[in-house]
Subunit: 251 residues, 2 copies
DNA sequence: TTTCCCAATTGATCTAGATCAATTATTGGG
DNA sequence: CCCAATAATTGATCTAGATCAATTGGGAAA
Protein backbone atom coordinates (compact mmCIF):
# COMPACT_ATOMS: atom_id res chain seq x y z
CA UNK A 1 0.00 0.00 0.00
CA UNK A 2 1.19 3.47 -0.83
CA UNK A 3 0.83 5.89 2.02
CA UNK A 4 -0.66 9.24 1.18
CA UNK A 5 -1.83 12.11 3.31
CA UNK A 6 -5.36 11.22 2.26
CA UNK A 7 -5.50 7.79 3.81
CA UNK A 8 -4.20 8.92 7.18
CA UNK A 9 -7.26 10.13 9.02
CA UNK A 10 -7.18 13.37 10.97
CA UNK A 11 -8.91 13.39 14.29
CA UNK A 12 -12.14 15.33 14.17
CA UNK A 13 -11.83 18.69 15.87
CA UNK A 14 -14.28 17.73 18.58
CA UNK A 15 -14.32 19.93 21.62
CA UNK A 16 -13.05 17.16 23.86
CA UNK A 17 -9.87 17.14 21.79
CA UNK A 18 -9.55 20.83 21.22
CA UNK A 19 -6.50 21.85 23.15
CA UNK A 20 -6.38 25.27 24.75
CA UNK A 21 -4.13 27.72 22.94
CA UNK A 22 -0.80 26.90 24.54
CA UNK A 23 1.95 29.46 24.45
CA UNK A 24 5.68 28.96 24.79
CA UNK A 25 5.52 31.28 27.80
CA UNK A 26 3.31 28.92 29.76
CA UNK A 27 4.37 25.61 28.17
CA UNK A 28 5.86 23.16 30.63
CA UNK A 29 8.41 22.10 28.01
CA UNK A 30 9.91 25.55 27.60
CA UNK A 31 13.13 24.57 29.34
CA UNK A 32 13.73 21.68 26.94
CA UNK A 33 12.31 22.81 23.67
CA UNK A 34 13.05 25.68 21.35
CA UNK A 35 12.49 28.41 23.99
CA UNK A 36 15.26 27.16 26.27
CA UNK A 37 17.17 30.11 27.66
CA UNK A 38 15.11 32.77 25.87
CA UNK A 39 13.99 35.93 27.61
CA UNK A 40 10.29 36.61 28.08
CA UNK A 41 10.09 39.30 25.41
CA UNK A 42 11.74 37.03 22.88
CA UNK A 43 9.43 34.18 23.80
CA UNK A 44 6.53 36.41 22.83
CA UNK A 45 7.97 36.84 19.33
CA UNK A 46 8.31 33.09 19.06
CA UNK A 47 4.73 32.59 20.24
CA UNK A 48 3.59 34.91 17.54
CA UNK A 49 4.78 32.66 14.72
CA UNK A 50 4.36 29.22 16.22
CA UNK A 51 1.20 27.45 15.27
CA UNK A 52 -0.24 25.29 17.99
CA UNK A 53 -1.87 22.60 15.90
CA UNK A 54 -4.84 20.43 16.92
CA UNK A 55 -3.92 16.93 18.11
CA UNK A 56 -3.75 14.08 15.63
CA UNK A 57 -4.52 10.43 16.32
CA UNK A 58 -2.12 7.51 16.34
CA UNK A 59 -1.25 6.37 12.85
CA UNK A 60 -1.46 9.79 11.21
CA UNK A 61 1.47 11.31 9.45
CA UNK A 62 2.94 14.67 10.30
CA UNK A 63 4.68 14.75 6.95
CA UNK A 64 5.58 12.50 4.06
CA UNK A 65 8.72 12.34 1.91
CA UNK A 66 8.42 14.67 -1.03
CA UNK A 67 6.12 17.14 0.72
CA UNK A 68 7.40 20.68 0.47
CA UNK A 69 9.36 21.61 3.54
CA UNK A 70 7.63 24.45 5.30
CA UNK A 71 7.98 23.75 9.00
CA UNK A 72 9.83 22.00 11.72
CA UNK A 73 7.66 20.25 14.30
CA UNK A 74 8.03 20.39 18.07
CA UNK A 75 6.34 17.56 19.95
CA UNK A 76 4.12 18.64 22.85
CA UNK A 77 2.58 15.32 23.95
CA UNK A 78 2.76 11.82 22.52
CA UNK A 79 5.54 10.33 20.41
CA UNK A 80 6.63 10.16 16.81
CA UNK A 81 8.41 7.59 14.70
CA UNK A 82 10.55 8.89 11.84
CA UNK A 83 11.34 6.41 9.07
CA UNK A 84 12.06 5.90 5.40
CA UNK A 85 11.23 3.09 2.99
CA UNK A 86 14.07 1.26 1.27
CA UNK A 87 14.14 -0.03 -2.30
CA UNK A 88 12.04 -3.05 -1.32
CA UNK A 89 9.48 -0.93 0.46
CA UNK A 90 10.84 -2.04 3.83
CA UNK A 91 10.50 0.40 6.68
CA UNK A 92 13.77 1.68 8.10
CA UNK A 93 13.36 3.59 11.34
CA UNK A 94 15.57 6.63 11.85
CA UNK A 95 14.40 7.63 15.30
CA UNK A 96 11.71 7.98 17.94
CA UNK A 97 10.88 11.43 19.26
CA UNK A 98 9.23 12.66 22.46
CA UNK A 99 7.87 15.90 23.96
CA UNK A 100 10.24 18.84 23.79
CA UNK A 101 12.04 17.36 20.79
CA UNK A 102 12.05 18.96 17.36
CA UNK A 103 11.98 17.08 14.06
CA UNK A 104 12.34 17.91 10.37
CA UNK A 105 15.88 19.29 10.28
CA UNK A 106 16.94 16.88 7.57
CA UNK A 107 14.49 18.57 5.18
CA UNK A 108 16.08 22.03 5.33
CA UNK A 109 18.68 21.37 2.68
CA UNK A 110 16.48 19.52 0.19
CA UNK A 111 13.48 21.81 0.79
CA UNK A 112 11.40 18.62 0.83
CA UNK A 113 10.78 16.22 3.66
CA UNK A 114 12.76 13.08 3.05
CA UNK A 115 11.29 10.90 5.79
CA UNK A 116 7.90 9.80 7.04
CA UNK A 117 6.91 11.10 10.49
CA UNK A 118 4.03 9.20 12.07
CA UNK A 119 2.28 9.54 15.43
CA UNK A 120 2.75 6.45 17.60
CA UNK A 121 -0.03 7.64 19.90
CA UNK A 122 -2.33 10.65 20.07
CA UNK A 123 -0.05 13.55 19.35
CA UNK A 124 -0.09 17.24 20.01
CA UNK A 125 2.59 19.37 18.50
CA UNK A 126 3.62 22.87 17.49
CA UNK A 127 4.30 23.80 13.92
CA UNK A 128 7.39 25.98 13.47
CA UNK A 129 7.33 27.76 10.07
CA UNK A 130 10.92 27.70 8.98
CA UNK A 131 10.95 30.90 6.92
CA UNK A 132 9.65 32.91 9.82
CA UNK A 133 11.99 31.16 12.20
CA UNK A 134 14.90 32.20 9.97
CA UNK A 135 13.80 35.80 10.19
CA UNK A 136 13.62 35.66 13.96
CA UNK A 137 17.04 34.03 14.04
CA UNK A 138 18.51 37.06 12.31
CA UNK A 139 16.76 39.33 14.78
CA UNK A 140 17.44 37.56 18.07
CA UNK A 141 20.96 36.23 18.52
CA UNK A 142 19.94 33.98 21.43
CA UNK A 143 17.38 32.37 19.21
CA UNK A 144 19.88 31.76 16.44
CA UNK A 145 22.21 30.18 18.99
CA UNK A 146 19.41 27.95 20.15
CA UNK A 147 18.63 26.82 16.61
CA UNK A 148 22.26 25.94 16.00
CA UNK A 149 22.31 24.05 19.28
CA UNK A 150 19.26 22.04 18.31
CA UNK A 151 20.78 21.13 14.97
CA UNK A 152 24.08 20.28 16.60
CA UNK A 153 22.28 18.16 19.14
CA UNK A 154 20.56 16.20 16.42
CA UNK A 155 23.97 15.49 14.88
CA UNK A 156 25.35 14.31 18.22
CA UNK A 157 22.36 12.04 18.75
CA UNK A 158 22.97 10.47 15.39
CA UNK A 159 26.67 10.00 16.12
CA UNK A 160 25.64 8.02 19.16
CA UNK A 161 23.28 5.91 17.12
CA UNK A 162 25.98 5.26 14.55
CA UNK A 163 28.30 3.96 17.24
CA UNK A 164 25.51 1.89 18.79
CA UNK A 165 24.61 0.28 15.50
CA UNK A 166 28.05 -0.57 14.30
CA UNK A 167 29.89 -1.72 17.37
CA UNK A 168 27.45 -3.13 19.90
CA UNK A 169 26.01 -6.54 20.74
CA UNK A 170 22.26 -7.11 20.91
CA UNK A 171 22.34 -6.88 24.73
CA UNK A 172 24.23 -3.61 24.63
CA UNK A 173 22.00 -2.14 21.94
CA UNK A 174 18.88 -2.81 23.95
CA UNK A 175 20.44 -1.51 27.18
CA UNK A 176 21.45 1.69 25.40
CA UNK A 177 17.98 2.04 23.93
CA UNK A 178 16.27 1.62 27.30
CA UNK A 179 18.63 4.00 29.09
CA UNK A 180 18.11 6.59 26.38
CA UNK A 181 14.34 6.42 26.91
CA UNK A 182 14.80 6.49 30.67
CA UNK A 183 16.96 9.61 30.52
CA UNK A 184 14.64 11.41 28.15
CA UNK A 185 11.58 10.64 30.27
CA UNK A 186 13.41 11.76 33.40
CA UNK A 187 14.12 15.13 31.78
CA UNK A 188 10.41 15.47 31.10
CA UNK A 189 9.69 14.96 34.77
CA UNK A 190 8.37 11.44 34.33
CA UNK A 191 9.64 8.37 36.12
CA UNK A 192 13.02 7.23 34.88
CA UNK A 193 12.36 3.67 36.03
CA UNK A 194 8.80 2.88 34.99
CA UNK A 195 7.51 3.92 31.59
CA UNK A 196 5.50 2.95 28.60
CA UNK A 197 7.07 1.75 25.36
CA UNK A 198 5.02 3.43 22.65
CA UNK A 199 6.62 1.31 19.93
CA UNK A 200 6.36 -2.40 19.11
CA UNK A 201 9.13 -4.97 19.56
CA UNK A 202 9.27 -5.08 15.78
CA UNK A 203 9.98 -1.34 15.70
CA UNK A 204 12.61 -1.56 18.41
CA UNK A 205 14.35 -4.29 16.44
CA UNK A 206 14.12 -2.36 13.21
CA UNK A 207 15.60 0.74 14.84
CA UNK A 208 18.47 -1.17 16.48
CA UNK A 209 19.21 -3.40 13.52
CA UNK A 210 17.99 -6.58 15.26
CA UNK A 211 15.36 -9.19 14.47
CA UNK A 212 12.15 -9.06 16.53
CA UNK A 213 12.93 -12.47 17.95
CA UNK A 214 16.26 -11.19 19.21
CA UNK A 215 14.60 -8.23 20.92
CA UNK A 216 12.15 -10.55 22.58
CA UNK A 217 14.88 -12.92 23.71
CA UNK A 218 17.01 -10.14 25.16
CA UNK A 219 14.00 -8.81 27.06
CA UNK A 220 13.39 -12.29 28.45
CA UNK A 221 17.05 -12.56 29.41
CA UNK A 222 16.97 -9.15 31.12
CA UNK A 223 13.91 -10.25 33.07
CA UNK A 224 15.58 -13.52 34.09
CA UNK A 225 18.68 -11.66 35.27
CA UNK A 226 16.54 -9.12 37.14
CA UNK A 227 17.70 -6.10 35.17
CA UNK A 228 14.14 -5.10 34.40
CA UNK A 229 10.54 -6.16 34.11
CA UNK A 230 8.58 -5.76 30.96
CA UNK A 231 4.95 -6.66 30.66
CA UNK A 232 3.50 -5.82 27.30
CA UNK A 233 4.27 -2.13 26.87
CA UNK A 234 5.12 -1.29 30.48
CA UNK A 235 8.80 -1.42 31.25
CA UNK A 236 10.27 -1.04 34.69
CA UNK A 237 13.96 -0.85 35.35
CA UNK A 238 15.09 -2.87 38.36
CA UNK A 239 18.86 -2.62 38.15
CA UNK A 240 19.81 0.69 36.61
CA UNK A 241 23.51 0.30 37.42
CA UNK A 242 23.74 -3.00 35.60
CA UNK A 243 21.97 -1.54 32.57
CA UNK A 244 24.20 1.50 32.67
CA UNK A 245 27.26 -0.72 32.79
CA UNK A 246 26.10 -2.50 29.65
CA UNK A 247 25.97 0.86 27.87
CA UNK A 248 29.65 1.59 28.23
CA UNK A 249 30.29 5.28 27.78
CA UNK A 250 27.09 5.90 25.90
CA UNK A 251 24.16 7.39 27.78
CA UNK B 1 49.03 6.04 24.47
CA UNK B 2 47.04 9.12 25.27
CA UNK B 3 46.86 11.54 22.42
CA UNK B 4 47.53 15.17 23.23
CA UNK B 5 48.02 18.19 21.03
CA UNK B 6 51.63 18.16 22.14
CA UNK B 7 52.58 14.84 20.63
CA UNK B 8 51.02 15.64 17.27
CA UNK B 9 53.70 17.57 15.49
CA UNK B 10 52.79 20.64 13.51
CA UNK B 11 54.52 21.06 10.23
CA UNK B 12 57.18 23.73 10.41
CA UNK B 13 56.13 26.88 8.61
CA UNK B 14 58.79 26.45 5.97
CA UNK B 15 58.38 28.52 2.88
CA UNK B 16 57.89 25.48 0.69
CA UNK B 17 54.73 24.71 2.65
CA UNK B 18 53.53 28.23 3.14
CA UNK B 19 50.39 28.46 1.07
CA UNK B 20 49.46 31.71 -0.62
CA UNK B 21 46.64 33.55 1.10
CA UNK B 22 43.60 31.96 -0.52
CA UNK B 23 40.32 33.80 -0.48
CA UNK B 24 36.81 32.45 -0.80
CA UNK B 25 36.41 34.68 -3.84
CA UNK B 26 39.11 32.86 -5.77
CA UNK B 27 38.85 29.44 -4.13
CA UNK B 28 38.00 26.65 -6.53
CA UNK B 29 35.76 25.07 -3.90
CA UNK B 30 33.49 28.06 -3.54
CA UNK B 31 30.61 26.33 -5.27
CA UNK B 32 30.70 23.41 -2.81
CA UNK B 33 31.81 24.92 0.43
CA UNK B 34 30.42 27.57 2.71
CA UNK B 35 30.31 30.30 0.02
CA UNK B 36 27.91 28.39 -2.22
CA UNK B 37 25.35 30.78 -3.62
CA UNK B 38 26.74 33.89 -1.92
CA UNK B 39 27.08 37.21 -3.75
CA UNK B 40 30.51 38.72 -4.24
CA UNK B 41 30.08 41.44 -1.61
CA UNK B 42 29.01 38.87 0.98
CA UNK B 43 31.92 36.65 0.10
CA UNK B 44 34.20 39.49 1.03
CA UNK B 45 32.74 39.63 4.51
CA UNK B 46 33.29 35.93 4.86
CA UNK B 47 36.86 36.26 3.68
CA UNK B 48 37.47 38.84 6.33
CA UNK B 49 36.84 36.43 9.20
CA UNK B 50 38.04 33.15 7.74
CA UNK B 51 41.53 32.18 8.71
CA UNK B 52 43.44 30.40 6.04
CA UNK B 53 45.66 28.16 8.15
CA UNK B 54 49.04 26.74 7.16
CA UNK B 55 48.97 23.08 6.04
CA UNK B 56 49.48 20.33 8.55
CA UNK B 57 51.09 16.94 7.94
CA UNK B 58 49.46 13.54 7.95
CA UNK B 59 48.86 12.29 11.47
CA UNK B 60 48.27 15.68 13.06
CA UNK B 61 45.06 16.51 14.80
CA UNK B 62 42.84 19.42 13.89
CA UNK B 63 41.13 19.16 17.26
CA UNK B 64 40.78 16.81 20.20
CA UNK B 65 37.75 15.97 22.34
CA UNK B 66 37.48 18.37 25.26
CA UNK B 67 39.14 21.26 23.46
CA UNK B 68 37.05 24.41 23.66
CA UNK B 69 34.93 24.79 20.57
CA UNK B 70 35.96 27.93 18.76
CA UNK B 71 35.79 27.11 15.08
CA UNK B 72 34.42 24.92 12.38
CA UNK B 73 36.93 23.69 9.83
CA UNK B 74 36.54 23.65 6.05
CA UNK B 75 38.85 21.28 4.21
CA UNK B 76 40.75 22.78 1.30
CA UNK B 77 43.03 19.90 0.25
CA UNK B 78 43.68 16.48 1.74
CA UNK B 79 41.34 14.42 3.87
CA UNK B 80 40.32 14.08 7.48
CA UNK B 81 39.20 11.18 9.65
CA UNK B 82 36.81 12.00 12.49
CA UNK B 83 36.63 9.46 15.31
CA UNK B 84 36.02 8.87 19.00
CA UNK B 85 37.50 6.38 21.46
CA UNK B 86 35.14 3.97 23.21
CA UNK B 87 35.37 2.78 26.81
CA UNK B 88 38.09 0.29 25.89
CA UNK B 89 40.12 2.91 24.05
CA UNK B 90 39.05 1.45 20.71
CA UNK B 91 38.84 3.85 17.80
CA UNK B 92 35.35 4.32 16.37
CA UNK B 93 35.32 6.20 13.10
CA UNK B 94 32.45 8.63 12.54
CA UNK B 95 33.37 9.83 9.08
CA UNK B 96 35.89 10.73 6.40
CA UNK B 97 35.89 14.27 5.03
CA UNK B 98 37.20 15.79 1.81
CA UNK B 99 37.77 19.22 0.24
CA UNK B 100 34.77 21.54 0.38
CA UNK B 101 33.36 19.71 3.41
CA UNK B 102 32.98 21.34 6.80
CA UNK B 103 33.49 19.57 10.15
CA UNK B 104 32.93 20.37 13.81
CA UNK B 105 29.16 20.88 13.88
CA UNK B 106 28.68 18.34 16.65
CA UNK B 107 30.66 20.60 19.00
CA UNK B 108 28.31 23.59 18.79
CA UNK B 109 25.92 22.38 21.44
CA UNK B 110 28.50 21.15 23.96
CA UNK B 111 30.88 24.06 23.32
CA UNK B 112 33.66 21.45 23.34
CA UNK B 113 34.85 19.23 20.54
CA UNK B 114 33.66 15.71 21.20
CA UNK B 115 35.59 13.89 18.51
CA UNK B 116 39.15 13.60 17.26
CA UNK B 117 39.82 15.02 13.79
CA UNK B 118 43.07 13.81 12.22
CA UNK B 119 44.70 14.50 8.86
CA UNK B 120 44.96 11.36 6.74
CA UNK B 121 47.37 13.13 4.41
CA UNK B 122 48.90 16.58 4.18
CA UNK B 123 46.01 18.87 4.87
CA UNK B 124 45.18 22.46 4.14
CA UNK B 125 42.08 23.96 5.62
CA UNK B 126 40.24 27.12 6.56
CA UNK B 127 39.37 27.92 10.13
CA UNK B 128 35.87 29.32 10.56
CA UNK B 129 35.50 31.12 13.92
CA UNK B 130 32.00 30.24 15.02
CA UNK B 131 31.21 33.38 17.03
CA UNK B 132 32.02 35.58 14.09
CA UNK B 133 30.15 33.29 11.76
CA UNK B 134 27.08 33.67 13.96
CA UNK B 135 27.29 37.43 13.66
CA UNK B 136 27.51 37.26 9.90
CA UNK B 137 24.56 34.88 9.86
CA UNK B 138 22.44 37.50 11.55
CA UNK B 139 23.62 40.08 9.03
CA UNK B 140 23.38 38.14 5.78
CA UNK B 141 20.25 36.02 5.36
CA UNK B 142 21.79 34.02 2.50
CA UNK B 143 24.66 33.09 4.73
CA UNK B 144 22.35 31.98 7.52
CA UNK B 145 20.47 29.84 5.01
CA UNK B 146 23.70 28.29 3.88
CA UNK B 147 24.72 27.46 7.44
CA UNK B 148 21.40 25.77 8.06
CA UNK B 149 21.79 23.86 4.83
CA UNK B 150 25.23 22.62 5.82
CA UNK B 151 23.96 21.44 9.18
CA UNK B 152 20.95 19.83 7.58
CA UNK B 153 23.20 18.14 5.07
CA UNK B 154 25.33 16.67 7.82
CA UNK B 155 22.19 15.22 9.38
CA UNK B 156 21.14 13.68 6.07
CA UNK B 157 24.58 12.18 5.57
CA UNK B 158 24.34 10.57 8.96
CA UNK B 159 20.87 9.24 8.24
CA UNK B 160 22.34 7.50 5.24
CA UNK B 161 25.13 6.04 7.32
CA UNK B 162 22.64 4.81 9.92
CA UNK B 163 20.71 2.96 7.25
CA UNK B 164 23.90 1.59 5.75
CA UNK B 165 25.16 0.30 9.06
CA UNK B 166 22.01 -1.31 10.29
CA UNK B 167 20.49 -2.92 7.24
CA UNK B 168 23.19 -3.76 4.74
CA UNK B 169 25.38 -6.75 3.96
CA UNK B 170 29.15 -6.44 3.78
CA UNK B 171 29.03 -6.30 -0.03
CA UNK B 172 26.42 -3.56 0.01
CA UNK B 173 28.25 -1.56 2.65
CA UNK B 174 31.44 -1.54 0.64
CA UNK B 175 29.62 -0.69 -2.59
CA UNK B 176 27.89 2.23 -0.86
CA UNK B 177 31.20 3.40 0.57
CA UNK B 178 32.95 3.32 -2.79
CA UNK B 179 30.11 5.05 -4.62
CA UNK B 180 30.01 7.73 -1.96
CA UNK B 181 33.71 8.44 -2.49
CA UNK B 182 33.24 8.33 -6.26
CA UNK B 183 30.41 10.87 -6.14
CA UNK B 184 32.24 13.20 -3.84
CA UNK B 185 35.41 13.12 -5.94
CA UNK B 186 33.36 13.72 -9.09
CA UNK B 187 31.87 16.87 -7.52
CA UNK B 188 35.40 18.07 -6.85
CA UNK B 189 36.22 17.68 -10.53
CA UNK B 190 38.35 14.58 -10.04
CA UNK B 191 37.81 11.26 -11.77
CA UNK B 192 34.80 9.38 -10.48
CA UNK B 193 36.26 6.06 -11.57
CA UNK B 194 39.90 6.13 -10.54
CA UNK B 195 40.93 7.51 -7.19
CA UNK B 196 43.11 7.08 -4.18
CA UNK B 197 41.87 5.62 -0.91
CA UNK B 198 43.47 7.79 1.76
CA UNK B 199 42.41 5.40 4.52
CA UNK B 200 43.56 1.87 5.38
CA UNK B 201 41.44 -1.28 5.01
CA UNK B 202 41.33 -1.35 8.79
CA UNK B 203 39.79 2.11 8.80
CA UNK B 204 37.26 1.25 6.11
CA UNK B 205 36.20 -1.77 8.16
CA UNK B 206 35.98 0.22 11.35
CA UNK B 207 33.82 2.85 9.66
CA UNK B 208 31.47 0.30 8.08
CA UNK B 209 31.28 -1.99 11.09
CA UNK B 210 33.20 -4.80 9.40
CA UNK B 211 36.37 -6.75 10.20
CA UNK B 212 39.48 -5.92 8.11
CA UNK B 213 39.46 -9.43 6.78
CA UNK B 214 35.93 -8.98 5.51
CA UNK B 215 36.85 -5.76 3.73
CA UNK B 216 39.78 -7.49 2.10
CA UNK B 217 37.64 -10.45 1.04
CA UNK B 218 34.95 -8.24 -0.44
CA UNK B 219 37.56 -6.30 -2.40
CA UNK B 220 38.93 -9.57 -3.72
CA UNK B 221 35.44 -10.70 -4.65
CA UNK B 222 34.73 -7.39 -6.42
CA UNK B 223 37.98 -7.78 -8.37
CA UNK B 224 37.09 -11.36 -9.30
CA UNK B 225 33.63 -10.30 -10.51
CA UNK B 226 35.14 -7.37 -12.43
CA UNK B 227 33.32 -4.66 -10.51
CA UNK B 228 36.55 -2.86 -9.79
CA UNK B 229 40.30 -3.04 -9.50
CA UNK B 230 42.13 -2.13 -6.39
CA UNK B 231 45.87 -2.16 -6.08
CA UNK B 232 47.08 -0.99 -2.73
CA UNK B 233 45.50 2.46 -2.38
CA UNK B 234 44.46 2.99 -5.99
CA UNK B 235 40.91 2.01 -6.73
CA UNK B 236 39.38 1.97 -10.17
CA UNK B 237 35.74 1.30 -10.81
CA UNK B 238 35.11 -0.98 -13.78
CA UNK B 239 31.38 -1.61 -13.54
CA UNK B 240 29.70 1.44 -12.05
CA UNK B 241 26.20 0.17 -12.85
CA UNK B 242 26.73 -3.06 -10.96
CA UNK B 243 28.14 -1.18 -7.97
CA UNK B 244 25.28 1.26 -8.11
CA UNK B 245 22.79 -1.62 -8.17
CA UNK B 246 24.35 -3.01 -5.01
CA UNK B 247 23.71 0.31 -3.30
CA UNK B 248 19.95 0.12 -3.64
CA UNK B 249 18.47 3.56 -3.25
CA UNK B 250 21.44 4.99 -1.40
CA UNK B 251 23.94 7.12 -3.33
C1' DT C 1 70.40 -3.32 -0.73
C1' DT C 2 68.79 -5.49 3.64
C1' DT C 3 65.96 -5.47 7.68
C1' DC C 4 62.02 -4.44 10.29
C1' DC C 5 57.41 -3.51 10.76
C1' DC C 6 52.92 -3.11 9.64
C1' DA C 7 49.20 -3.58 6.10
C1' DA C 8 46.90 -6.72 3.44
C1' DT C 9 45.49 -11.11 1.99
C1' DT C 10 43.92 -15.82 2.42
C1' DG C 11 42.36 -19.92 4.86
C1' DA C 12 40.02 -22.45 8.72
C1' DT C 13 36.85 -22.31 12.30
C1' DC C 14 33.43 -20.38 15.37
C1' DT C 15 29.37 -17.79 16.95
C1' DA C 16 25.97 -14.04 17.52
C1' DG C 17 22.17 -13.26 15.78
C1' DA C 18 19.16 -14.19 11.59
C1' DT C 19 15.75 -17.03 9.75
C1' DC C 20 12.24 -20.50 9.85
C1' DA C 21 8.51 -22.56 12.40
C1' DA C 22 5.04 -23.16 15.84
C1' DT C 23 2.44 -21.44 19.80
C1' DT C 24 0.34 -18.14 22.67
C1' DA C 25 -1.11 -13.59 23.89
C1' DT C 26 -3.47 -9.04 22.53
C1' DT C 27 -6.07 -5.86 20.20
C1' DG C 28 -9.46 -3.76 17.60
C1' DG C 29 -13.62 -4.04 14.68
C1' DG C 30 -18.30 -5.44 14.26
C1' DC D 1 -18.61 -10.26 23.65
C1' DC D 2 -16.57 -12.72 19.92
C1' DC D 3 -13.48 -13.40 16.28
C1' DA D 4 -9.90 -12.31 13.09
C1' DA D 5 -5.74 -10.28 12.56
C1' DT D 6 -1.54 -9.03 14.55
C1' DA D 7 2.18 -8.93 18.22
C1' DA D 8 5.08 -11.43 21.15
C1' DT D 9 7.37 -15.37 22.73
C1' DT D 10 9.99 -19.61 22.41
C1' DG D 11 12.45 -23.28 20.06
C1' DA D 12 15.38 -25.28 16.27
C1' DT D 13 18.49 -24.47 12.73
C1' DC D 14 21.37 -21.85 9.62
C1' DT D 15 24.72 -18.44 8.00
C1' DA D 16 27.18 -14.00 7.32
C1' DG D 17 30.69 -12.33 9.03
C1' DA D 18 33.88 -12.40 13.20
C1' DT D 19 37.85 -14.39 15.04
C1' DC D 20 42.05 -16.91 14.97
C1' DA D 21 46.13 -18.14 12.44
C1' DA D 22 49.55 -18.05 8.96
C1' DT D 23 51.62 -15.91 4.94
C1' DT D 24 52.82 -12.38 1.80
C1' DG D 25 53.77 -7.76 0.37
C1' DG D 26 55.65 -2.95 0.60
C1' DG D 27 57.57 1.03 2.44
C1' DA D 28 60.83 3.45 5.48
C1' DA D 29 65.33 3.59 7.75
C1' DA D 30 70.11 2.67 7.77
Amino acid sequence: MTITKENTKEIAGRSIFRSPRVSCVTCSLSELCLPRGLKKENLDKLDYIIKNSPPIAKGNHLYLPGDDFKSLFAIRTGSVKVYVLDKNGEEQIIGFYFPGEVIGFDAINKEKYICYAIALETLSYCKLPFEKMSLICAEIPEFQDQMFRLLSDEISTEHDLILTLSKRTADEKLAIFIMSLSNRFAKLGYSSTVFNLPMSRQEIGNYLGLAVETVSRVFTKFKRTELLDVDKKILSIKDKDALHALCGYNK
